[in-house]
Amino acid sequence: MSLTLEDVARIALLSRIELSPAERESTRDQLNGILGFIEQLQAVNTTGIEPMAHAVDVVQRLRPDAVTETDRRADFQAVAPETEAGLYLVPRVVE
C-alpha cells in the first residue's frame, strides 16, 4: 500500500496540519517509508497469536471513585489566551 498526494492532503486536513506542496511530497515519501516497514511486519506469520492492544502485557489499574481535585480554574486561566465569565474563549464555532 502506498499513499497518494491526495491521501496526504486529506490526512493533513483531518489532523489540522498545514502542508505546502513541497512538504506534501516529502511527507508522502516519509509516510510511505513507514508503511513499507509495516508491510515487512505484516509478512510475519502471526497465526494463533492474539493481537495486543498495548506493548506491555499488563492490565489497567483502576482508581476508586472519589473527588480528589479542587478548583484550580484561576491558575489554568491565567495562561489561557482569552477568558470571560469563567469560560475559555475561542474563535466562533458555527454548526
Binding site: A53, H54, V59, D65, L87, P91
Partner: protein, 487 residues
C-alpha cells in the same frame, strides 16, 4: 403501491452516576460555575495521564448483567479523533473494537402504555453493544464579542453508550424501547435519567424500505432529549424519506437535528470528513480486565430486575399483566407497591394495586408529582386499605379518608376515621332505626314506590345514606329498606 417498512436503531448516551469523572478525580456534580470542575486531565494539559474510575466499570457490568449481555473479560479503550473546541485533547476516549458489553437485549411492550384494554405487543430489542466513553465539554455560542465560550466541566463525565440493532419498526416501538431503557438504568442505579440535564440522550438511526428489501440508507437524528420529541422527529423523518424516494430522489446518509419549534428535522452542514474518526487503541490506557469473580460480586448486589418482578407480581399476587407492568414501570413505583403490600398484607395485594393505579396515580398526575414524592406514604395507604378490608369503612368513605391523608389532616387512616367519626355503622339496630325515620319522613316516595315507580326506591336509599352521613354499608341499607317495604 406496496407499504413502506420503517427501520430504526437507537444509540443512547447514559451519564453514569459516579462522583468523579471517568479518567480524573474532578467532580461531575451538575450546575457548577463554568470550568471549576475541570482539572489538568480534563482540559488536556501536556503530560497528564488518564486513570480509569472503577465505579464506571461497575456501572457497565451492572448494565451488562441486567440486559443478559456478554461482559468482555478484556476490553480496550480507543481514541476517536476529531477537532472541536469543547474536546481539548483532539480525541475522545471511547471503546471501538472490543466494547465492555456485547449483545443482550430488552423486552418492550408496545401500544398499551396508558390503556388497560388495548392489546400490547411484546417485542425483544437486541442490543449490539454498550461501551464506556467520556463526554465532551459544552460550547456556548451566545455573544462573547463574536467568540465561542467553552465550559469543560462536563468534559470527562462518564457515559455508557448503548447501541441497539436496527430492530424497531415504528416511532412507537422506538419510544417504548427508550422508555424501558430509561427505566432500567435508573432501576439498577447507574444513571439518574434526568433528560433535561442531558443525563439520558438518544440518537435515532432511521431508514425506510419496501418489506423484504435490503436496508435503506439511514439518516441519524441527533440528541433527542424527550420521548415526545423522539416520536415527532421520527414520524417527520420517515414521511420525509418516503416523499423523497417517491419523488425519485435517493436518500443520502446524513446527520440531522430535530427542531421542536417547527417539528421538522434538518440536515447539519457537516463535512464528509467529519466521520473519519481514525480510531486506534489509546496507548495511555491498558486493557480493562474484568474477572468472573468481579462480575459475580456485582451480580450479588443487583436489585430484583423489573421483568422478574413483573412476573412475580402476576404469579404471587394474581395481578394482570397490565397492572404488573404499570407497577414495575419505575423502581420508585415498584418500591412503593412492595412497601404498601408488606404493610397491608399479601391478601390485599390486588386492592393495593387498584388504589395505587387509581386514586393515588390520578392525584399524583394532577399535581405533576412522582410517586416517591407522594404525601401519602405506602404505610398510610396500607392502613387505609386494611380498614376497607375489615369493613371499618366503605369504599366511598375510604375516598374521604384518602383525601384527608393527602391533605395531612392526620398521620394515619385510623386517626382520621376516629377524629372525623367516619367509622361504618354496622349495628343493624341503629341502621334500622334510621331507616324507619327515613320511611316515616318520606311517605310520598314510599307511596310512589308502591305505585310502581322504581326510581322512588333509589331516592329512599339516597335519603337513608344521607341520614347515616354515608357511614352505613349501602348494601345493608338497601336490604333493610327492601325488607321494610316488603319486596
Amino acid at each position: 403501491m406496496s407499504r413502506w417498512e420503517v427501520v430504526i436503531g437507537l444509540e443512547t448516551h447514559a451519564q453514569l452516576q459516579t462522583k468523579s469523572k471517568i479518567f480524573s478525580g474532578s467532580s461531575i456534580a451538575f450546575g457548577a460555575e463554568p470550568n471549576v470542575q475541570a482539572n489538568a486531565v480534563d482540559i488536556a494539559l501536556p503530560g497528564v495521564l488518564p486513570v480509569l474510575n472503577r465505579e464506571a466499570v461497575v456501572c457497565a457490568i451492572k448494565f451488562g448483567l441486567a440486559v443478559g449481555a456478554t461482559i468482555a473479560p478484556r476490553s480496550i479503550f480507543a481514541r476517536k479523533n476529531y477537532f472541536y473546541p469543547d474536546l481539548p485533547k483532539g480525541y475522545q476516549i471511547s471503546q471501538f473494537e472490543i466494547p465492555v458489553v456485547a449483545g443482550g437485549g430488552l423486552a418492550i411492550r408496545v401500544g398499551a402504555a396508558n390503556d388497560p384494554n388495548a392489546t400490547a405487543t411484546e417485542k425483544f430489542v437486541h442490543l449490539t453493544r454498550a461501551h464506556l466513553e467520556e463526554d465532551a465539554g459544552k460550547s456556548l455560542h451566545e455573544d462573547f464579542h463574536g467568540r465561542t465560550g467553552i465550559d469543560l466541566n462536563r468534559a470527562g463525565t462518564p457515559l455508557l453508550e448503548i447501541v441497539t440493532e436496527p430492530d424497531m419498526r415504528s416511532s412507537a416501538e422506538a419510544v417504548a424501547y427508550a422508555r424501558a431503557l430509561h427505566s432500567l438504568v435508573q432501576w439498577i442505579g447507574i444513571c439518574d435519567g434526568n433528560m433535561q440535564e442531558g443525563s439520558f440522550r438518544c440518537d435515532a438511526n432511521v431508514s425506510v424500505r419496501r418489506p423484504g428489501e435490503p436496508l435503506g440508507t439511514r439518516r441519524e437524528i441527533k440528541n433527542l432529549n424527550s420521548f415526545r420529541f423522539m416520536q415527532q422527529a421520527i414520524d417527520f423523518e420517515v414521511q420525509w424519506q418516503i416523499n423523497e424516494i417517491t419523488e425519485g430522489r435517493a436518500i443520502r446518509q446524513a446527520t440531522v437535528l430535530f427542531d421542536p419549534d417547527t417539528g421538522e428535522t434538518r440536515s447539519m452542514r457537516s463535512k464528509e470528513d467529519a466521520h473519519d474518526y481514525r480510531y486506534f487503541p489509546d496507548p495511555d490506557l491498558l486493557p480493562l480486565e474484568i474477572r468472573p469473580e468481579w462480575i459475580a460480586e456485582v451480580k450479588a448486589g443487583l436489585p430484583e430486575l423489573p421483568q422478574a418482578m413483573n412476573a412475580r407480581f402476576q404469579s404471587e399476587y394474581g395481578l394482570s399483566a397490565y397492572d404488573a407492568s404499570i407497577l414495575t414501570a419505575t423502581r420508585a413505583m415498584a418500591d412503593f407497591y412492595i412497601a404498601a403490600v408488606a404493610a397491608a398484607g399479601a391478601g390485599n395485594a390486588k386492592t393495593v394495586a387498584n388504589w395505587i393505579m387509581g386514586e393515588l396515580a390520578a392525584r399524583l398526575n394532577k399535581n405533576d408529582m412522582a410517586v416517591d414524592a407522594s404525601p401519602i406514604s405506602a404505610t398510610q395507604l396500607a392502613g387505609l386499605i386494611q380498614r376497607i378490608a375489615d369493613n371499618t369503612i366503605s369504599n366511598n368513605i375510604a375516598k374521604k379518608v384518602f383525601e384527608a391523608l393527602w391533605n395531612g389532616e392526620g398521620s394515619s387512616a385510623d386517626e382520621i376515621i376516629e377524629k372525623q367519626g367516619l367509622k361504618q355503622i354496622t349495628d343493624t339496630g341503629a341502621i334500622e332505626a334510621l331507616v324507619d325515620e327515613v320511611l316515616a319522613a318520606n311517605q310520598k316516595s314510599v307511596e310512589e314506590f308502591r305505585a310502581g315507580k322504581e326510581k322512588a326506591f333509589n331516592a329512599l336509599v339516597g335519603q337513608a345514606m344521607k341520614a347515616t352521613k354515608g357511614k352505613a354499608n349501602p348494601q345493608q341499607v338497601t336490604d333493610l329498606l327492601k325488607k321494610k317495604l316488603g319486596v
